[in-house]
Point group: C2
Chain length 206, copies 2
């Protein structure tokens, strides 16, 4: 990364400003918010995109249930207010990552428009890009895949308030990107990569 | 950053592993935890170090009250349990940043050994470096500086439970680094940089 070392950085006691950071690292920090049903392929796509970005020389990180529910949000359950607080915290952490210059890939079912809208708001208030990616996989396909056996349990009543079964999933109203199940994760990741270049969130690397 | 593009990355649907990430970005994610009294110079040092690291081609980000209390922790006050939860969440977020490969500089008074120890624990459980940096500025100097006029207010009783006045600061038992007030922020940042190279947290950049 030494090639990116800028001579314009003044070494003093205030925050490195965002423009300098973007110039040095050839990317503008941004949050890509992957929303969709359980089993829709959110995390698969997020991890595929993370690989693609890093392979191409950009920096990216996936936030998902695995690294959030066991840590930051281990004191939250699944009541309505806890689910709301879960998404609120994840939204704030995504914003911190975006502010740090990272392309953060946040993969959460996040079924409620109100919660997603709030996350978008806090990004826009701080002029950080927020890109909502709706993984539009029909529930029939998700239920057929059922990678964690959750739909089976929800149908048996062993899991309550399961999104798509006995709790609603509100379709995103104006997502920046919609991913259809006919596209492979690799093709979808390539499309999103092209979108990020077009939006100037990623600068071309020679 | 294209020069760091690795041919070893297999593009599939699992997390980019930490070793690959470290190799590509020439640094191992780590948390530097700056603890000390209000006015001790924690944040000044953190920002100076952030500048130095970025100037040298490494990636770093400061977490502090400014970007945490107004966002992630805006639903917490200053009761004992809220202060504990404040540090717990900041610790978990630091860990996420360290896991993402960032050198995160967390600057919080964090007066209680128990809370700091918990943050160290969650890092060590996940084999992430945690470096406690004790800013050992005596209270007389902090109070003379009083950059935010907080000591004046605390002495007047307008702020309750103020660390060092009517709430204790527990001296770190085994900090990795101790910073004395006689060292300038620039000199201290240089020392910490050398330490990070020696610890192989930063790899030499040609």
């Amino acid at each position: 990364m030494a090639e990116n070392k800028s001579k314009n950085i003044v070494w003093h006691e205030s925050r490195v400003d965002r423009a300098s950071r973007n110039e040095i690292f050839k990317q503008s920090g941004a949050t890509l918010w992957f929303t969709g049903l359980s089993g829709s392929g959110k995390s698969t796509l997020a991890f595929t995109l993370e690989h693609l970005l890093i392979q191409k020389g950009y920096n990216s990180y996936v936030l998902d249930g695995d690294n959030i529910r066991h840590g930051l949000n281990n004191n939250l359950g699944f009541s309505d207010s806890d689910r709301e607080e879960n998404i609120r915290r994840v939204g704030e952490v995504s914003k911190l990552f975006a502010d740090s210059g990272m392309i953060v890939l946040s993969s959460f079912i996040s079924p409620f428009e109100k919660d997603r809208h709030q996350v978008r708001d806090i990004h826009q208030q701080d002029e950080l890009p927020f890109i909502e990616v709706f993984i539009d996989t029909p529930i029939a396909i998700c239920e057929e895949r059922d990678p964690k056996n959750l739909y089976v349990k929800a149908r048996r009543g062993e899991i309550k308030n399961f999104t798509g079964i006995d709790s609603p999933y509100e379709i995103p109203e104006n997502p920046e990107l919609v991913i259809l199940p006919s596209a492979s994760p690799e093709k979808s990741a390539e499309s999103i990569f092209t979108y990020l270049i077009d939006q100037n969130i990623l600068q071309a690397i020679d």
